[in-house]
């Protein structure tokens, strides 16, 4: 029996692929816009959402989507324009919201008197036991979100790289920021159901950060980010299948390794280039 003979592994790979594609694409913009802190908070907010939904007897999926999307809107509304002087104040808002949300999640779990295994699954995820229905619902949410991202990609890129010029050119920068955080919330909610609230952030930040170290070109970078995300997710799942250790540890370690390698290669390249330039200069004089 290979691992592809098990339906649960097939579904895990399918779900992991959907989640990785979504996170790679949304995360690329998140890293570009330097919204890592907001992204981290969005990914954690799914935990109280899911715990609350379980407490009142709903499916955790409702809680994930409801809370992540609501938090995206709240952060977008409360945030000042990128890079303004209010930043320190706003990051305190985000930090307080995040801690309060997690505290609520803990309260809900306590009130539910649920078993602690449930809590660990909410936080660290479980790739096992994903049903066909769950894969389809992940796909049903991911496809329109990615289409929406594709539609706003050009103006969003403009608004992210140079908000002032974009505003002057009539791009609705603020609206785009809200829509983007909404989409980021959807991506976080999707990923939370598979990787757990605590590990979503790894998929959102590591592959995109690696891609942006390697290339500054948007389409290539986003493709690279998605490709990396999918590869580490697959590799992580396969490694977790053959060892007793959790998937999350493999996914984060592999993607962090890629990030460190990319940075190392770039530093070496820059050194080589400045060396060549120095030699050329020496030859000219």
């Amino acid at each position: 029996m290979t691992l592809f003979d098990y339906p649960f592994m097939i579904n895990a790979l399918r779900a992991g692929t959907i989640v990785a594609v979504m996170s790679g694409a949304m995360g690329w913009f998140m890293v570009l816009r330097r919204q890592t802190f907001a992204g981290h908070t969005l990914s954690l907010v799914g935990f109280p959402g899911a715990a609350g939904a379980i407490l009142i007897g709903l499916s955790p999926a409702f809680g994930y989507f409801g809370f992540c999307i609501a938090a995206g809107v709240v952060i977008a509304m409360a945030s000042p324009p990128v890079g303004s002087a209010l930043y320190s104040e706003e990051s305190a808002v985000i930090g307080s919201v995040q801690a309060f949300a997690l505290a609520c999640g803990f309260l809900f779990v306590n009130l539910y008197h649920g078993n602690l295994n449930g809590l660990t699954n909410l936080l660290f995820g479980s790739f096992l036991g994903i049903t066909n229905g769950q894969v389809l619902s992940l796909l049903a949410v991911a496809a329109p979100s990615l289409v929406a991202l594709g539609l706003i990609a050009r103006p969003l890129l403009f608004a992210s790289v140079d908000p002032e010029v974009a505003t002057a050119a009539g791009v609705p920068v603020r609206l785009l920021a809200v829509v983007f955080l909404l989409l980021l919330g959807v991506a976080a909610a999707e990923a939370s159901q598979i990787t757990g609230s605590l590990l979503v952030f790894a998929l959102l930040v590591l592959p995109p950060a690696t891609a942006q170290v390697i290339t500054g070109r948007p389409v290539l970078g986003m493709g690279l980010s998605v490709g990396l995300g999918v590869s580490v997710t697959w590799a992580g799942l396969v490694m977790a299948y053959y060892t007793p250790y959790p998937t999350g540890a493999f996914i984060t370690t592999l993607s962090f390794g890629a990030y460190v390698a990319a940075r190392g290669v770039r530093v070496l390249n820059e050194r080589a280039r400045s060396h060549t330039a120095g030699v050329a200069e020496g030859a000219l004089t």
Partner: protein, 303 residues
């Protein structure tokens, strides 16, 4: 302590239990250093760094447990080492958000690994260790652990007060401070080490996931209420201790509410209240300007 508080009637039963006395003793020390360090964390816009260190605390504690060592060894070792490392990497003791995010995303993955090693090695009894590291267990502190936490809290607090003046200067106007001979880089690294110690301390009380609330919320409330630095520092400390006491008393009165939730909720409510007060003052509800414009903001609202 019990005698003076006896006036309030309902307080003595709280102190009747040794675990509550330990919680109040440790909580006060932890809250004091959290409030004071948090004031500068917010001022220097390093809340995200605090967020990262909270995750490092989780991994450090579980690494120590997995290796069979004392939890606090890993907790303090990991947070201080990573804090100093982050200070060294960034120019003038601050690191880039994406770098911080990448590092702590990986740290968290390692934490999950240690958690799984620990839970599979220890025979059942300690399946809750991961949960108590994440969400704290202030009511479970032993008398010795409580005394140690209070002592370290007091030392960190003293450390912040000691470097408060130059740190304030360096935070508000780095260039001028550097020109005047203030060692910006050393201060930044030293301060991050204090943040690391605070993160490790606070993890024992409210847990790695919630410590950001106690670090950011009282400090942000103080920033809303006064712009005077030393008044703000004192206020942040007082608010953090207040949140700790109110939270502990609440969870004593309502047993189904875990203390970590009560403490963080109190701190966040304080922040929300301070924001509302600040907003009202700015809109002139107190001064009563003709078109909602504030004529004079009263003393104590804007120091």
């Amino acid at each position: 302590m019990t005698g003076t508080l006896a006036v309030l009637g309902w307080v003595p039963p709280v102190f009747g239990h040794p675990f509550m006395r330990n919680a109040f003793l440790a909580g006060t020390g932890i809250a004091a250093c959290c409030g004071a360090v948090g004031y500068f964390v917010v001022l220097r816009a390093q809340v995200f760094t605090g967020d990262a260190l909270s995750h490092v605390a989780f991994t450090g504690a579980l690494a120590a447990l997995a290796a069979g060592a004392d939890l606090r060894l890993g907790l303090f070792g990991a947070t201080v080492a990573v804090a100093v490392g982050m200070g060294m990497l960034g120019r003038s003791g601050r690191a880039d958000d994406v770098v911080i995010g990448s590092v702590f995303a990986w740290m968290l993955g390692l934490g999950v690994l240690f958690l799984s090693i620990y839970t599979s090695n220890s025979s059942g009894a300690n399946g809750t260790a991961g949960v108590s590291v994440l969400f704290g267990s202030i009511l479970g502190l032993s008398a010795g652990a409580a005394r140690a936490a209070a002592l370290i809290g007091a030392m960190v607090f003293a450390g912040v007060i000691l470097i408060a003046r130059p740190l304030l200067f360096a935070s508000l106007d780095e260039a001028v401070a550097a020109a005047r001979g203030v060692p910006i880089r050393a201060l930044g690294i030293g301060f991050l080490a204090l943040v690391g110690l605070t993160a490790a301390e606070t993890t024992q009380a409210v847990g790695a996931l919630l410590l950001l609330g106690l670090l950011a919320a009282p400090a942000a409330a103080a920033h809303q209420l006064t712009t005077h630095p030393f008044r703000g520092l004192a206020l942040a400390t007082a608010l953090a201790i207040g949140a700790m006491w109110v939270g502990l008393a609440t969870s004593y009165a309502v047993p189904s509410v875990p203390p970590s939730f009560a403490i963080i909720a109190t701190a966040v409510v304080m922040y929300a209240g301070a924001s509302a007060l600040h907003g009202a003052a700015r809109r002139g509800f107190f001064a009563g300007g003709p078109n909602g414009e504030s004529l004079a903001i009263p003393e104590g609202i804007h120091g």
